[in-house]
Each structure stands twice: as C-alpha cells, then as structure tokens.
Symmetry: C2
Subunit: 359 residues, 2 copies
C-alpha cells in the first residue's frame, strides 16, 4: 500500500496537486502489480490514465477537499483525506473521458482526447475510430471503478468512511444526471435560463465546489452549520466557475485552455450565456444564432458570427457581471462563517483564481 | 435501509433470483428517495434499470456467490452475502449495457437494448440515436457506481468487506480487460485459439464462475485449499459456459436466447468455435468464412453459409465435445473437494444446467 507523501504545507496548491498525482501514480502501479496476467493490455489503460493526469488539469476538486478540511481543523491531513482527494481526481478523469466521447471532442488539456489517442493506438484496425471510442468507454469504466477502489484499503478507518460514502454517492449521481441534463438540452439555442442554471447546479456547482468541500470538512468533523456555511460559499462560486468556463469555451485561447473553442458551439451547449443572448436578441440576431449554433461542422468564420451576436446582445458582458456578483456573494459569506482563518484564507484565494482564470 | 428478505431455502435458484431482484429494486427506490431534486431525470435511469432486471437474465453470478457460501458453511446467508450477490448482478447489468453499445446490438433479453430503448425515449430529438448511446453510457456508469454503493452501508460489518473488496476489484478489472481483448480481436476470422481461450478465461470463466464462488466462500471463511478446489471446478465450467454461449450466438433460437443470432457473426467475434473452424477449413471454406464473417450487414442467407462452414469443418461438433469434456472435468474435481455436501449438490446441478442450456 502506497502511503501518501506529506507535502510541506498542505494548502500550497502545487503541493496538493503533486501529492494527489503521486498517490494516483502509485495506485495505478499497484493495479498493474496485482494483475500481471492481464499485462500488456492493462498497461495500455493505466498508461493512458497516467498520460491524462500528467497532461495537466487544475485539480480543483482535490484542492477544495483539502481546503474543506483546513476550514474545520488545524490538524495535519490524514491519509483518508488524501485518498478522498485523489478519488475525486480519478472520478473527474472518468467523467472527462466519457464526456469527451459524448461530445465528440478531439482535444483535451492540449492533447488528443482519450478516444482519439486510443483510435491512433489502433491505427490500421479496419474500424480504428470505433475501437478508440470503445476502448475509451472501457478506460472510463476502469477509472470510475478505481475511484471507488482507492478508498477500499484495509488501513483506512471505516468509521470515517461511513460518513464519506453517502456524500460521494450523491456527488456521482448528481454529476451523471447533470451530464444527462446537459446532453438532453444540447442542440438548439433557447432562452430557457432556468434549465441552464439547473445544469450548472448539478454538473458544476455541487460537483466541483460544494461536495468536495463537504467531503474534507466532514472528515474533519464539521458541524451542520459549518457545512451550511461552506454551501453558502460554494454554490454561487460554483456557478461563477461554470459561467467562466462557458465564456472560455467560446472566447478562450485554445493555447491556454487546451480545448477547441468551436466544440461548445458545434455541440450547441445550452448555457446561461446563450440563453441570455437568445432572450435579448433581435429577430435578425436570433436567426443568425439559430442557423449556426449546434451545427456539427461550424467553421471559424461562422463561429465568429455567433460570438458577435453573444457580444452584441450584451450576453457576454452580462455573464461577466454575473461572475463578479456571484464571486462577491461567495466572498461575503466568509465574513460571518464559523470557519478557521487558515481555510478561509484559501477559500478567499480560490474565489479569485477560479473566476478570473484564462485556462 | 432495505433488509434483504430471507428466502425459504437459500439455494432454490428462483428464490435467489427473487431475493436479489427485491434487494436491487429496494436499492433503486432508495437512490430516488435520496435525490428528490434530481427527479424526473434520475427516474428515467432507475426505470431503465428496473426494466432491464425485470426482463430476465439467468442470475448466474448471484447463484454462484450464494453457492460459494453454501459450499463452506451451513449457516444462514447474512445480509452482506446477499448484498454482494446483488452487487454482482448490478455490475453485470452495467457490463451488458456498455457491451451492447460497443457491439451495436439491438436486442437483449428479448427487448431493445438500453441504447435502443433510450433512443426511442428521445424520439423526435434531431440526434435520437446518438442521445440513446450517450444516455446508455451514463446509465451504465450509474449502474457501475451503484454496484459499489450497494456495499457501502453503515450496517455491513467492515472486517468482512475488507476481504471482499480485493476480489471484487480483480473481478472488475479482469472483466473490463477481457472485454477489451474481445473487442481488439474482433473483425476477421483467424485460427488463433490461444487468444480465444485467454478471452474466455477473463471475460467469462473468472468473471462468471470463479470470482463469484470465491466471493461467497470468502465471506464464509473459506481456507486457501477450499478456494483452490472451487477454482478447479470453476475454470473448466466457465470455459464450457462460454463455448455454449458461442454456439447459442450462432445456432441458438432467438425466441429462447433473447438475442439476435446474427450479432456475433456480423461483429466477427473471435471465438474458439471460429478459430477451430479456421484451423480445420479447406481453402474454399476459409474463403467462404473470410468473405462473410465480420460483415456488418450480413444477411440470414450468408449467415447460413457461415454456419454450414462451422458445421462442415467439424468445429461445431468439436465445440460440443469440448463442452462435455470440460463439464466432466469440473464435475470430477468435486469428488475429492473439501466442500460441504449441500453446496456440492448445487455445484453439480449448475454444471449440468449451465452447459446444456438453450437460453
């Protein structure tokens, strides 16, 4: 069993990322060692996961998990906390791998998505693209299973895990149903902002901020009112996080985001940005959007027409204002929250970095 | 928490199936009750799983799990055993749902496969087929996660689970890697029987028979030599099970199997049956196979040509003989095994039913 390294200061974000990565690499090594008969096929999958983790990622969920702990106690984070943080990151790898299949995305973290990389691996196979998708479904399945397996170690104290499991179960169900809502509303632009907010709530705000904070805080023995204080911070900040993501998906620099800025427009992602534009658009602007948005072969020139409409209707600026307002709402809650100064310092820090990021 | 009903005799196969189904239906109810905000979308998924379970299935893995217990002890099966058995069935639902996507299968258990049923649910959506596949990926993901969640209950004794988790992890990894091997070798007929046997070992023999027996036996406190005795029975029987499955996939009656008997031939599944035929075939027979096997739009007339080759080369008869030999090998091991008479009775019974089934 790999014991997690202890970073010098648990809340140095880079050190948190390193610790989680080392724990995950060690876990993947263990999986290979436990099944020598399944090599080399198993190594194809563990290798893909290592590449995926090494390609970057913001490690926001592990950071939130560790911050949730630090908001409640000054004690050194125990192994169960690190493994929970790592489990969140492995679950996230699963979610992105399957999302990229569903969204037909070619690029993630500046590299080919898993199904594209696995299709390249099967180059020469008569149905390489299909093999890539099928192998990536299996890769995601393995990552999902292993995100549970990470917490199934004899050395973890079960009484603590009993509190963690229902939260992790809720997080997983919310995220998968949120992803379904996302898919089911994709295709054509509408002015339905209520649905766009509902998707954000489950697919992002709870998944990325609230539940990870609660997991760390619960392991630290948080009270109900402390968990509520974390929710009051997490939900508006999570919404602001997704609004920023939506803007980056349309206006971001692919060099920085690692993703195409055509994918969301080609998919026709139902976002608050687009719903706001539709609500404010003139008839010619609505027509310009409806003709292009969700077109699977949308080119850059037509994407630029969409961007002009999103900007021209004021939706881009309105989204920026919502991000600022929601960030400030999150920050305000911290002023009266019954949370430790150390954790609160980092909650404040992340409220700024998460909402002003360019990647 | 739903407490599992106690069937009158734990090894009445119908009663085992009923108990597992009731436990799973209760668990799905709990998932809905735990997340009222996610309805009605969550109910779409739980409803699909209920339909999938209600459509039938042989419940072989739960039966093996309970039989593994009965081979070691006369005590009444405890809740943890029932939940482990139910977890295996839910994992199996996940595996079939994702397999059917990868294999492009339209029919399962005599009904539309999950991705076809979900495509029908999204009838009218511009990309209903794609929505069906994507929603079925998510449905499988939920079933996989819940197959873990079933064992995460505060009332289950953790020391017992510590022995179960590594076995379940191995079962899951073996099955997924076995499925990958299956996919990677699909397409063209070859005489490579070694690979065909390797696929059977992981995708079927360990997954369907050996690991489920070990799970039940481990929970009952089996010794190493008892586990070895169960392996000696399980591996040849599991091989015979898959050989029967391969024959049913080509020659079976769809009314009884609930599956098309064109799917395996259209996919070009690499089986011992086909590898044996290729090894024995004359040049004209080889050509006849190579031209048709793995053709995605193969019709019944050309399927019949393939069947004639498989029969004409003697591969069908050789496969029948292998099934009998492996069944007898499994039965022989029971004569000297240190296992209880009650469990051994059922092991003997299942060796016959599993290998002579028509569905």
């Amino acid at each position: 069993m790999t014991s997690p390294p202890s970073p010098a200061t648990p809340l140095d974000p880079a050190a948190v990322g390193d610790t989680v990565e080392q724990l995950l690499y060690g876990f993947l090594d263990e999986q290979e060692h436990a099944a020598p008969d399944l090599l080399p096929e198993l190594a194809l999958f563990t290798g893909q996961l290592r590449d995926f983790l090494a390609a970057g990622g913001k490690r926001i969920r592990p950071l939130m998990c560790i911050t949730g702990w630090a908001a409640i106690t000054d004690q050194t984070p125990p192994p169960v906390l690190w493994r929970t943080a790592a489990s969140l990151e492995l679950f996230h790898a699963f979610a992105l791998i399957h999302d990229d299949i569903m969204d037909h995305s070619d690029t993630r973290r500046g590299r080919p998505t898993a199904h594209r990389a696995l299709a390249a691996h099967h180059h020469g196979h008569t149905t390489a693209d299909r093999m890539g998708v099928n192998a990536a479904i299996l890769l995601g399945d393995l990552a999902l299973g292993w995100s549970y397996e990470l917490l199934h170690t004899p050395d973890l104290p079960p009484p603590e895990l009993a509190h963690v499991w229902p939260l992790l179960n809720a997080l997983r169900t919310e995220t998968l149903v949120g992803q379904y809502l996302d898919l089911a509303t994709t295709g054509h632009p509408t002015a339905d902002t209520d649905t766009a907010w509902r998707i954000i709530r489950y697919k992002t705000a709870k998944y990325t901020i609230e539940r990870p904070l609660h997991l760390g805080a619960t392991l630290a023995g948080a009270t109900r009112s402390q968990l509520d204080a974390l929710s009051a911070y997490a939900l508006p900040l999570g919404e602001a996080f997704q609004l920023r993501d939506d803007l980056l998906g349309v206006y971001g620099e692919p060099d920085q985001t690692g993703k195409s800025r055509l994918d969301d427009l080609r998919e026709g992602k139902h976002t608050v940005l687009v719903a706001t534009a539709m609500a404010q658009a003139t008839m010619p602007q609505q027509r310009a959007l409806c003709r292009r948005f969700g077109h699977p072969r949308l080119d850059e020139a037509n994407a630029e027409v969409i961007r002009d409409v999103l900007t021209g209707t004021g939706a881009r600026e309105a989204t920026e204002q919502m991000i600022t307002a929601k960030r400030d709402q999150a920050l305000t809650t911290l002023e009266t929250a019954d949370l430790l100064p150390g954790g609160t310092h980092w909650l404040r820090h992340f409220a700024h970095t998460i909402t002003s990021r360019t990647a």
